[in-house]
């Protein structure tokens, strides 16, 4: 009778590729050379996109921008596991996911330049608009997953967010509902150790985020978020489970925000440079390159080619974004409601 154990849980961490580029063969996902090169190219493209965004911002051609530097593997690796028909609910720092799924880069630049037309997802993609209010999109993903089940679609839903988001009430309400309704949703948390100036250990007293899933009755797992194979493998497994009625999974990608929080931030005010230097060693691209070198999938010529292609694609995207015609003033009215009220119509006439 007295003190009895009524339940227990162990939280796992998955790591396949180490910083030196050595992989655990047993866990390596079934990706062929072409797949691996594609992954590498997406990583480079994401980083190139990101670097250009920072440069454009400095020149005043973009607004406040949150860099993805260092987090590319968590984004590309997870998005690569998705089907086109899956639904994605992003936060604001997953441009690597957008790029992997083929979301037009010029739209991303337009958006970050302060033009909502950048969030008009092309048909054929089910990527929801970037969500600025941290964590508040999590219940949407759960609802969409419930809707997919209800319709009998085999679509899964993926929801991205950061470590900071796990402190929000909507994280809790969403995950709890996902558990209760066994919704086909995969939560991908990029634990980049910081929420602006708040370090992980001030965000929660729990030593991992993955363990939070236990409280919702489903599986949570931590992966090395700079290990693209671990991210890909965990996401694919979770997606398959979701499609087969196995319910939700929480994946904590253990990674690092190398850059400032956004271009409006100065991380040197609150963060030791050694920490950043340590994490630079664990760079996700470097790591994959080392692996590919071992397997003869990478050489200097290939690298040049990949870099050139990425630069060209980014040049083209910047050009398209910046040559888009200025939005008309009346645009501010045209998407508030399906139909304008008489008052809105009157107001609309005032601007043009």
């Amino acid at each position: 009778m007295p003190e009895e154990i009524i339940g227990s849980c162990a939280v796992k961490r998955l790591n396949i590729l180490d910083p030196q580029g050595n992989a655990d063969e047993n866990l390596l996902p079934p990706l062929n050379g072409q797949d691996i090169r594609r992954l590498y190219e997406l990583l480079v493209l994401s980083r190139t996109f990101d670097g250009r965004a920072l440069a454009l911002q400095r020149e005043g051609r973009l607004g406040t921008y949150p860099s993805i530097l260092g987090q590319e593997a968590a984004q590309v690796g997870s998005a690569f596991a998705l089907e086109k028909s899956d639904w994605v609910f992003p936060s604001f720092r997953e441009m690597g996911m957008h790029i992997t799924l083929g979301y037009p880069m010029h739209l991303l630049y337009q958006y970050w330049a302060g033009d909502e037309r950048g969030l008009a997802t092309p048909t054929g993609l089910n990527i929801l608009p970037i969500c600025v209010a941290v964590g508040t999109h999590i219940p949407h993903a759960v609802g969409a997953a419930m809707a997919a089940s209800y319709r009998g679609d085999r679509n899964a839903v993926v929801c991205y967010f950061g470590d900071g988001a796990t402190s929000k009430g909507d994280f809790h309400e969403g995950l709890n509902m996902a558990g209760v309704f066994r919704a086909p949703v995969v939560f991908i948390c990029q634990n980049n150790q910081w929420a602006i100036s708040v370090p992980f250990d001030r965000q929660t007293a729990a030593p991992s985020l993955a363990q939070k899933a236990w409280g919702y009755g489903f599986e949570g797992i931590q992966v090395d978020g700079n290990d693209i194979f671990a991210v890909y493998r965990a996401t694919r497994t979770a997606l398959e489970k979701a499609r087969n009625g196995g319910g939700p999974t929480f994946i904590e990608c253990h990674t690092y925000r190398i850059a400032d929080h956004t271009t409006a931030d100065d991380a040197s005010r609150y963060r030791p440079p050694e920490e950043v230097a340590d994490w630079r060693e664990k760079d996700p691209i470097l790591r994959l390159r080392r692996f590919m070198t071992q397997r003869h999938l990478w050489d200097e010529a290939y690298e040049r080619h990949v870099q050139e292609e990425a630069t060209a694609a980014v040049d083209e995207a910047v050009h398209r974004a910046e040559s888009a015609p200025k939005p008309a003033a009346t645009e501010i009215f045209d998407y508030t409601n399906a139909e304008l009220s008489p008052r809105q119509q009157r107001q609309r006439k005032e601007v043009g």
Partner: protein, 320 residues
Amino acid sequence: MPQMNMVQALNLALRQEMARDPDVLLLGEDVGRDGGVFRISEGLQEEFGVARVIDTPLAESGIVGAALGMSLYGLRPVAEIQFMGFIYAAFDQLCSHAARMRSRSRGRFTCPLVVRTPYGAGIKAPELHEESTEALFCHMPGIKVVIPSGPYSAKGLLTAAIRDPDPVIFLEPTRLYRLIREEVPAEEYTVPLGKAKCAREGGDVTVIAWGSMVERTLKATEGYRVDLLDLQTISPFDEEAILTSARKTGRVVIVQEAAETCGFGAELAATIAARAILHLRAPILRVAGFDVTMPLPKLEDYYIPSVERIRKALDEVLKY
């Protein structure tokens, strides 16, 4: 035509819309097995199954957020918040998301979503069970706010709300749920959103009310020659009907259950003061709840606008 109370009319509207469109589903606390604490969804889980009438965990932000996600996916969810006093927890979902998703995505994603909730005082219920803070939601471009005042409008407006392409907050006056019975067509029909109904015609004063206050204002205006406008939708509201009547009568009384300051009556007065002031002969009066915390049952009757207070305002404007 059958006689119904508002509970029956709302239940029928839900049943018919669910039968008509498989994308319509219900979710909320106790809406399934229990049929809702006011029995609005009584029998619907039996009829349509647990996948379509969903009892949720106790989480208002999650309920509205999940309903919103369903609507993004293409369904037409009708979420219930058990009492309006608990909708504040979903305020962020409504204001930051439901109201903005169409705009944010330039029309690519929309939220054909209805959030129903009982509102209003006069039922001697505990704290937060008698709120009437409808004005808050009228300051959120992108969201509609609909308030029936009787069984007929309840059924037609709820049907219209469910079919509307945008998010609608649908407020049901709890005090009137079983108070009024009237003829309600058994068939489907809609009452258009955004249009006021003239509940009484007369030429001396324009009286404007909505939802829970319509019944009381009808009583109070007996023996007076007034245009009584029942707004039915308060966002967007029927400016034309109001201005036409105000220009005609030159006297306006607004009856609002909510606390006076920054209630929806303020918008009505401001609209008239901007666009019909030259026709007015008297001050625009608001008869409203007081600017106090909504009292518990023992004192609530002092709070809710009474027939006497309404008549006093009528008499006052008629002096001019």
